[in-house]
Symmetry: C2
Subunit: 142 residues, 2 copies
DNA sequence: CTACGGGTTCGAGTGCACTCTCAGTCAAGG
DNA sequence: CCTTGACTGAGAGTGCACTCGAACCCGTAG
C-alpha cells in the first residue's frame, strides 16, 4: 500500500503521514523500487491508536515518548502503562470539567428560555457595549 | 480596580486582558486621570463567563460574535440562545467521544495489567521500531 | 531627587500541529 | 512520445491564542 491509499484508509493526509514519519511517530517506511513508501496494513492499527490518543488531547511529544518506549521492547511496558494511566486520568478530569461547564451552560440557556427576557444571570454585569473609537480599526485576531 | 488587580482576581494576565480588549472581547475600559484602565467589579462576571466558554473549547471568533450580539441589546437574545445551544451540543458530542475513547484506553491499560505481557490488543501491529538512518537527525517537531 | 512598581502602546515572537509549495522524479496509459 | 497523477525531500506558511519585549509615562516613598 502506498501513501495515497494509506491516507485514504487511515484518514490522515499524505502530508501528515510524511510529517509523522519525519518526527518519528510512524516508523520509517520501507521504500519500493522507486523509493516510494510501501506500507503494510498493520500500520493502520497503530495509526488508529495514535488517533485515539490525539482525540483525547495527548500532545505529540507524549505520543512520541510512547512510540519510543514501544520501540524499546516489552521491558518498557510498565512505563507505557503509567503513561497511559496518567493520560487517562487527565482526560477523565477534563471530561468532568466539561460536564460541570455544560451544566452551567444549560442553566444559562434556560435563562434565555421562552420569551422571557434576560433574567439577570451570570454574565449580567458589564456588557460589551458599543466600542468603535474610529471606524473598524479594532485589530481583529489574526 | 486597575489592570493588575483585575488580572489577579480574574485569572487572566494583564497582557491577556489588554489583548481581549484589543480584539473586542472585553469592553474598552474607562481610563483614569493618567489613562490607566479602571475596572468595575462587574467585569469579573463577564470574564468568568468567557472563561467558561473557553474552557469548553469555544473559539474566540465565536465568543466575539456572542459579545457583539450582547452589545446590540436584548433583541439579539434568541440568536445568543441559539449560539449557546449549538455550542452546548458540540461540547456534549465531544464529551461523548472522549468517554468512548476513555473506555478503549482503559481496556488497553488493562491489557498491560499485572505482569501479563502485551496481550495482542489494539496497536499490536507494526511497532515503531528502531529508526535512525544516521544519528539523531530526525527532525523533531518544532 | 531618584528609585520603584505600577501603568501605557505597538508590534513581534511563541508553541502547537499541521498544511502547503516547490522543483523535481517516476510508472502506467493513450 | 507525452501526459497524467502520484510520489519525493526540504522548507516555508497557516491559524490559534496568547505572551513578551521595547520604549515610554506617572505617582508615591524614602
Amino acid at each position: 500500500m502506498k501513501i495515497g491509499e494509506l491516507a485514504r484508509r487511515s484518514g490522515l493526509s499524505a502530508h501528515t503521514i510524511r510529517y509523522y514519519e519525519r518526527i518519528g511517530l510512524l516508523p520509517y517506511a520501507d521504500r519500493d523500487g522507486s523509493s516510494q513508501r510501501d506500507y503494510d496494513t498493520g500500520i493502520l492499527t497503530w495509526i488508529a491508536f495514535l488517533r485515539r490518543l490525539k482525540a483525547t488531547g495527548m500532545p505529540i511529544r507524549e505520543m512520541l515518548l510512547y512510540a519510543e518506549l514501544r520501540s524499546r521492547g516489552p521491558s518498557t511496558e510498565p512505563e507505557r502503562r503509567t503513561l497511559l494511566e496518567r493520560h487517562r486520568d487527565r482526560v477523565g478530569q477534563h471530561v468532568a470539567d466539561l460536564q460541570a461547564n455544560l451544566l452551567v451552560l444549560d442553566t444559562k440557556i434556560s435563562g434565555y428560555a421562552g420569551s422571557a427576557q434576560g433574567t439577570d444571570h451570570d454574565d449580567a454585569g458589564t456588557p460589551t457595549r458599543e466600542r468603535k473609537p474610529a471606524g473598524k480599526r479594532a485589530a481583529r485576531p489574526r
